[in-house]
């Protein structure tokens, strides 16, 4: 029981540290890429990695608050990322109710599904609020977000194995 709470605390610390790192990284482009807009959405990758790994005990309330904070610091419209994060939670929950997601390939496939849905919501909410987002740019960002998810997953696995 004590060990379980210690692990949960460690997961929470890891989550907060990765949020701060994502906040910093989302303000700098990727070195070597001419268009600075070609960058992953670190926050979506982070939230998907933690939800799929079932770490940090994320619930709807935490995700909404996190989403609002992300929108305040790095977003264009308040509420966008909050909506995306709670939808990721819902979709992940529903998929786990219907299917068994245990292997790495299954989790990666689920992450791709969640990333596609996240960027679809981002695009739809942007269009309806006069924020221009090029679909081709979103596709590139989605692909890069998948890599960000993989790196976050590796960090979580490395951290959990200690």
């Amino acid at each position: 029981m004590i060990k379980k709470y210690n692990n949960q605390e460690k997961e929470n610390y890891l989550f907060f540290i990765l949020i701060f790192i994502s906040l910093f990284l989302s303000n700098i482009g990727i070195y070597g890429i001419t268009d600075p807009r070609n960058m992953p959405n670190y926050f979506i990758g982070l939230v998907i990695a933690f939800i799929i790994s079932n770490k940090a005990n994320l619930n709807l309330y935490k995700l909404v608050i996190l989403g609002l904070i992300v929108d305040l610091f790095t977003g264009q419209l308040m509420g966008q990322h909050a909506l995306i994060f709670i939808t990721i939670f819902l979709l992940s929950f529903l998929v786990n109710k219907l299917l068994i997601i245990k292997t790495e390939i299954q989790q990666s496939t689920l992450s791709i599904f969640l990333i596609v849905n996240s960027f679809f919501i981002l695009w739809v909410t942007s269009q309806s609020h006069d924020i221009f987002r090029s679909p081709s740019l979103l596709l590139v960002q989605g692909i890069l977000t998948f890599f960000a998810y993989l790196i976050t997953k590796l960090i979580i696995i490395k951290f959990s194995s200690k």
């Binding site: 910093f24 670190y42 709807l60 909050a82 219907l98």
Partner: protein, 282 residues
């Protein structure tokens, strides 16, 4: 006992109940917040108050480039500095000649305005600033300058530089401000050809260029023509260069052409620009 342990370990499917009501309430709250933010610009106001947290992040992001530039200055040889000095002296000389010519034109203009009883003044008064990092925020481009409301920068102020029109201030915090560039999809500026003809509105197309979706085919325009601000909106002073026509394409309707304009201003980090003061008398 063994049977119970087996059933506990075989948690393949998620059997918990989903908090559907909570999700629906939070979903509605998110939609409402988005609507309010779009209507009343709530996040802009809150962001300007959160500048204390943003300042250290911006400082850390700009630190490597500042160190690089300062180190580069230390390694510049005398020969390079002398060459740069000579080029700058020549530019100052050429500009001094142009200023004399402009002074004469200005005094003639003032005389003519007095005669015709036209009272509008065209003095450009502004605050100089420098473009700094970050130039991207979570996948969308931004232009950040190193001046904020403590330097009397106001929202909606026009921004220009020696190349031409840059954009408009959309967000100010204590130490930094954000600019919406003229190539942004939500940007529009009333413009006129430098010949004084063809009053139109130029729109940003989101791809580093400006466009006129429907330009009358009967009007004469050619590639290389320059657009300047017309000043009719009261935000951008008259006569600021915007861009040059680079493409003229026909549209589905034979009465109109599609015009593509390449702006003179190309954003580069650490370049200088001027934020104009809002003239409240207009």
């Amino acid at each position: 006992m063994a049977k119970k342990a087996n059933s506990n370990n075989l948690k393949l499917f998620n059997r918990n109940a989903f908090p559907l009501f909570t999700f629906l309430v939070l979903f509605l709250i998110c939609i409402i917040i988005m609507g309010f933010d779009f209507r009343y610009n709530l996040s802009t106001k809150i962001k300007s108050e959160l500048s204390l947290i943003i300042v250290p992040i911006n400082y850390i992001i700009n630190l490597p480039i500042e160190i690089f530039h300062n180190s580069k200055k230390s390694f510049n040889t005398v020969r390079l500095l002398t060459q740069e000095n000579q080029i700058l002296e020549k530019e100052i000389y050429d500009l001094s000649i142009k200023i004399q010519e402009n002074k004469l034109l200005k005094s003639e203009n003032t005389q003519l305005r007095k005669l015709l009883k036209i009272h509008k003044e065209f003095d450009i008064v502004g605050q100089n600033a420098e473009i700094v990092l970050p130039n991207v925020r979570n996948g969308y481009s931004i232009l950040t300058i190193n001046k904020g409301y403590k330097d009397s920068i106001e929202n909606s102020s026009a921004v220009i530089n020696n190349s031409g029109l840059v954009g408009q201030i959309i967000n100010t915090s204590r130490n930094y401000s954000e600019i919406k560039p003229i190539t942004s999809k939500t940007f529009a500026v009333p413009a006129v050809l430098d010949t004084g003809k063809e009053n139109i509105i130029l729109y940003g197309n989101g791809n580093s260029e400006l466009e006129i979706p429907l330009f009358p085919a009967s009007s004469f325009i050619k590639i290389g023509d320059i657009f300047i601000t017309s000043g009719v909106d009261g935000i951008y002073p008259k006569g600021i260069k915007i861009g040059v026509v680079t493409k003229i394409n026909p549209t589905k309707s034979p009465k109109f052409n599609y015009i593509l304009v390449t702006p003179f201003f190309q954003p580069t980090t650490f370049s200088q620009l001027t934020v104009l003061k809002i003239n409240k008398n207009d």
